[in-house]
């Protein structure tokens, strides 16, 4: 059994989907990086201490 060939529409959308995918991957990487920086810098600890007074 073979897959049906891509419709012309899928080919046209490929670039757009790829772009959105890369943006999402970059966003995940940014959030991950920010979390690491904030945790290692102790930002969350300071915020928690401020809340506790």
């Amino acid at each position: 059994m073979s897959f049906r060939p891509d419709h012309e529409l899928h080919k046209r959308r490929f670039g757009r989907n790829m772009g959105v995918g890369l943006v999402l991957v970059a966003f995940v990487a940014i959030v991950f990086g920010l979390t690491v920086v904030k945790v290692t810098n102790g930002d969350f600890g300071r915020a928690a201490a401020e809340v506790q007074g």
């Binding site: 046209r12 959308r13 772009g19 990086g33």
Partner: protein
């Protein structure tokens, strides 16, 4: 239906690049650069990764306001030669899509900047987007010849936001960087308006060239350039200045004022004869001027940070 026909009917699937074009990448580049300088010129060190993503979110906020500007101004963009190839008038992106993208990215950039840096900087970014979209695009642009003057504030905020990312507030130095871009914007755009012919007139945009005439615009360019020179050189004696900045500012401003005097002295016949050569050169010089001035601020900040300033 051929692709060519579908483009004109607005039925072609927009590509990723078309959505990117909605964010005005060239304006974003200016936002990134000036916000970056504001961030590094601040006396508080920021973690490099936090600084980098903060500038990115400021740029996304700037891009979001660009998309909302294109949504609202699609009717003007269709008429003007300079803008008729933008994604909406070209039929590549529907106005509603630009509106949705603009609002979504506005909210996204503000929240992410708040989480990455601080909520003061995020509020400042939200205000900047509001100022550019509601005050400039929706109100001033179509109602007053001072549109560029007051609206220029929106483009002048990014270094202050960069400064706010580092310090959590505003300061005289941030205001000076704001003043540089604020006073630079009118001569930059009025020079463009001089050589864009009747583009603004056709679009019913009350640009100074249309409401007060081209002679008055030449006078205004000179007046604003002289005031800009005074501010730019004066900034050399503040905390963002120094020997390198002062020398750069002096040379650049002499060059820029000479350009403005040349524009002021020209008649329309002179300009038409050489196809606005002097005005075009002044416009290009204005880009180099702002870039170089902010590079000088960046160099001074670097020297200051590494304790080299005292040696000069």
């Amino acid at each position: 239906m051929s692709d060519t026909t579908s483009v004109h009917l607005g039925t072609t699937e927009a590509q990723f690049g078309d959505y990117l074009a909605l964010l005005k990448p060239r304006v974003m580049a200016l936002v990134v650069f000036t916000a970056f300088v504001g961030l590094l010129a601040a006396p508080v060190a920021v973690h490099p990764f936090v600084g980098m993503v903060s500038v990115l979110f400021i740029a996304v906020g700037g891009g979001a306001s660009g998309a909302l500007n294109m949504w609202w101004d699609a009717d003007i963009d269709r008429v003007m030669k300079r803008t008729r190839n933008r994604p909406i008038p070209a039929g590549l992106v529907a106005p509603e899509e630009a509106k949705a993208l603009g609002f979504a990215l506005s909210g996204f950039s503000v929240v992410m900047l708040g989480l990455a840096a601080n909520w003061f900087a995020a509020g400042f970014l939200a205000f900047t987007i509001f100022f550019y979209v509601a005050i400039y695009t929706m109100w001033l642009k179509r109602s007053t010849p001072q549109n560029i003057v007051i609206g220029g504030a929106a483009g002048a905020f990014p270094p202050m936001i960069g400064w706010a990312v580092a310090t959590g507030g505003v300061s005289v130095e941030g205001l000076l960087m704001f003043a540089l871009i604020f006073m630079w914007t009118p001569p930059h755009f009025w020079a463009l308006a001089l050589f864009m012919g009747d583009d603004y007139d056709n679009a019913d945009v009350p640009m100074l060239t249309v409401t007060h005439g081209r002679r008055a615009t030449r006078v205004y360019i000179l007046v604003y350039t002289v005031i800009l020179a005074l501010i730019a050189i004066g900034a050399g004696f503040s905390a963002i200045g120094g020997v390198i900045y002062l020398v750069t500012a002096l040379l650049l401003n002499i060059w820029f004022v000479i350009g403005a005097v040349k524009i002021w002295r020209r008649s329309e016949a002179d300009s038409a004869a050489d196809q606005f050569l002097v005005e075009r050169k002044f416009f290009k010089l204005s880009l180099f001027y702002l870039f170089s001035l902010f590079v000088a601020i960046l160099v001074e900040a670097g020297l200051d940070r590494y304790g080299i300033e005292g040696l000069l």
